[in-house]
């Protein structure tokens, strides 16, 4: 069992109730935030006596406290056929692992977790819920899904269903999707905190063979192609991959966080570090 995933929203949380995340709301409980005149926060129970006495203008000062809020965490999972890829790691297993770990971590601190499968169209597999049983629901739903189909256009559509309060949206895909879909995804999720998780595989970059004949078959039905691997082609291939990754990183950064590269093995701590490190 992987450790809990610790995450933080970029900016204040605005969840549907009290929870574990810092929010802009103020109230009478929580972490001390500031002192304001009584007229701005007329709560007689929170009058700061020392500050009131110290005030040369004889005003009455009230303490305000930060109200922490719960979040909704949504995962958008690309279920196009390319997610069936098995290289050094197994893409779909990685997805399952990440989703269940995140669902468990979220429900443990009172956040709601929801899951949307995005193939040609978006389909909500698990509606956002704080129930403890959400983990099982997520695991069962993902086990039942067989990635298929050539399109991941649902990624951009799924965002439409996530209106309302600011949410943490984890978009899991290999991001080998047409540029308009990618741009549409980030556009539509403008108001939310988007964490792109790029499923990659060592076998498709550093692990590429330097020599040999290899017959590649497109998982999404794009045909097959024989490729004569040699160092020059491998170098071009790697350069192309690096370029694609860089383009994705630049697009993602423009909308918030850089993508998290998930390859080979899922490491919960590493993911937590990424989530906390890019939340600022």
């Amino acid at each position: 069992m992987s450790p809990d995933i610790v995450y933080r929203l970029r900016g204040p949380a605005a969840g549907p109730g009290p929870g574990a995340h810092r929010a802009r709301d103020t109230g009478g409980l929580g972490t001390f935030r500031d002192q304001v005149p009584f007229w701005r926060h007329p709560d007689a129970r929170r009058i700061d006596l020392r500050a009131t006495l110290r005030d040369p203008f004889e005003g009455t000062v009230v303490r305000r406290f930060e109200q922490s809020r719960a979040l909704e965490v949504w995962t958008l999972v690309d279920v196009s056929a390319s997610m069936r890829f098995r290289g050094e790691g197994e893409a779909w297993a990685l997805v399952t692992e990440l989703c269940t770990a995140l669902a468990r971590s979220a429900t443990r601190i009172g956040d709601a977790f929801g899951l949307v499968a995005c193939g040609a169209r978006a389909e909500t597999l698990v509606p956002a819920s704080r129930r403890r049983g959400t983990v099982e629901a997520v695991a069962d739903a993902l086990a039942a899904v067989v990635p298929g189909g050539a399109s991941a256009a649902g990624l951009a559509q799924a965002a439409a269903g996530l209106s309302g309060r600011r949410k943490l949206v984890v978009a899991i895909s290999d991001f080998r999707v047409p540029a308009p879909v990618l741009a549409g995804l980030f556009e539509a999720l403008q108001g939310h905190d988007v964490v792109p998780v790029a499923i990659e595989d060592g076998a498709l970059d550093a692990g590429l063979p330097a020599f040999g004949l290899i017959e590649l078959e497109d998982l999404e039905g794009g045909g097959r192609r024989r490729v004569l691997m040699r160092p020059s082609l491998r170098a071009r291939w790697l350069a192309r991959e690096a370029e694609r990754r860089e383009a994705l990183r630049r697009l993602a950064l423009r909308h918030g966080r850089p993508p998290y590269r998930l390859a080979g093995r899922f490491d919960g701590d590493d993911f937590s570090r990424h989530l906390l490190g890019t939340a600022a």
């Binding site: 050094e88 197994e90 399952t96 269940t100 080998r176 290899i214 590649l216 998982l219 794009g222 040699r230």
Partner: protein, 350 residues
């Protein structure tokens, strides 16, 4: 006839399997490696070339194997061609005296009989002239048709090789000439015709036969060469006998006179040794070079060996492709265990 029209197969039923040659377009013997998207592979000309070559090799391997099973062949044909040469009718004396040397003795040691010398030299003559049609006849008491007019020089050489077998007794020139003339077929009237008589003596030509021969010569109009292998000490063609000048007393001289009176181009060579024979033959070789139309027969050719060879070549390419096959590093074999397994662990955790 074009090459395609001559092409045929022995067992056409097999050709129904030919559509199988399209299989490599849809199937492959290589291990297929699934990747998320082909878009990640850079365009590569060399790879496309290798792909095309391997696909074609697959199609060729199946196609040629099927073809080879059907038994391909090229039908035989006759090709009319023009070369430089002549129709040569060889008339060779097989009388007993041909077995003697030019000195009139039985050959011993390094000596060569007249028959052996003429055999050696005629063989070389035939070998030099690739497009000649050659007929071989021999005569002694009666004429022998050895070989009809043919362009198969192997056969001609074999016929010539046989002339130094020990000869028979007498010399009957008239019937021999008749046979040699009849060897010229009706074909190729514009070709130059050569009658080459090789003998070491002559005989009287019957006065009753003479008009017939004369008529034949006029009709066929060959160039007549007489290679007279003269034994040392015997009378030459120009020598008048001391006594009565009759055909019986000097048959050579009178045969020569008869030839001269025929009205066809005629030349006699008197050869007293092997070297002189050689020179005479060279002279004839030099003179008789005119265009000749001849028919070349080509036999039916079996092409299944070629088809099997091409199929083997294509298969070799495919095997090379298979041997060069590689895989993505660390790719796991397919298994569906992972997903339910992780679901189990999460359930326990929950």
């Amino acid at each position: 006839m074009t090459l395609l029209a001559r092409f045929g197969v022995t067992a056409p039923g097999w050709l129904w399997l030919l559509p199988l040659a399209l299989l490599p377009l849809v199937a492959t013997a290589q291990r297929r490696v699934p990747v998320p998207s082909l878009a990640l592979v850079p365009a590569d000309g060399l790879s496309r070339l290798v792909d095309a070559v391997l696909t074609l090799a697959g199609m060729a391997a199946i196609g040629f194997l099927v073809l080879a099973l059907a038994g391909p062949r090229l039908a035989g044909e006759s090709v009319a061609r023009t070369g430089e040469g002549a129709q040569v009718s060889l008339l060779i004396d097989r009388s007993g005296s041909m077995n003697e040397t030019f000195a009139g003795r039985q050959p011993s040691g390094a000596e060569e009989s007249k028959a052996a010398a003429s055999r050696r030299i005629l063989e070389a003559f035939v070998g030099r002239r690739a497009h000649d049609l050659v007929a071989v006849s021999a005569f002694s008491t009666s004429p022998m048709a050895v070989l009809p007019m043919t362009d198969r020089h192997e056969a001609v050489r074999a016929a010539i090789r046989a002339i130094d077998r020990p000869g028979l007794e007498a010399t009957n020139v008239a019937r021999g000439l008749g046979l040699a003339l009849s060897q010229f077929g009706p074909g190729a009237p514009q070709a130059s015709r050569v009658l080459l008589l090789v003998s070491d003596g002559a005989a009287v030509i019957d006065r009753r036969v003479q008009p017939l021969l004369r008529e034949e010569f006029t009709k066929i109009h060959p160039t007549l060469y007489w290679l007279f292998l003269r034994t040392a000490g015997s009378p030459g063609l120009a020598d008048r006998p001391a006594g009565e000048d009759s055909p019986q007393a000097a048959p050579e001289r009178h045969l020569d006179l008869f030839f001269k009176s025929l009205g066809v181009p005629y030349r006699a060579f008197e050869a007293e040794n092997a070297q002189a024979v050689d020179e005479a033959i060279r002279e004839i070789d030099r003179l008789e070079r005119k265009p000749i139309a001849f028919v070349e027969r080509r036999p039916q050719r079996d092409l299944s060996g070629l088809a099997y060879g091409l199929a083997a070549l294509a298969l070799g390419l495919l095997v090379a492709g298979k041997l060069a096959e590689t895989d993505l590093a660390g790719r796991r074999p397919a298994s569906r265990e992972a997903a339910p397994g992780s679901a189990q662990t999460t359930r326990r955790a929950a």
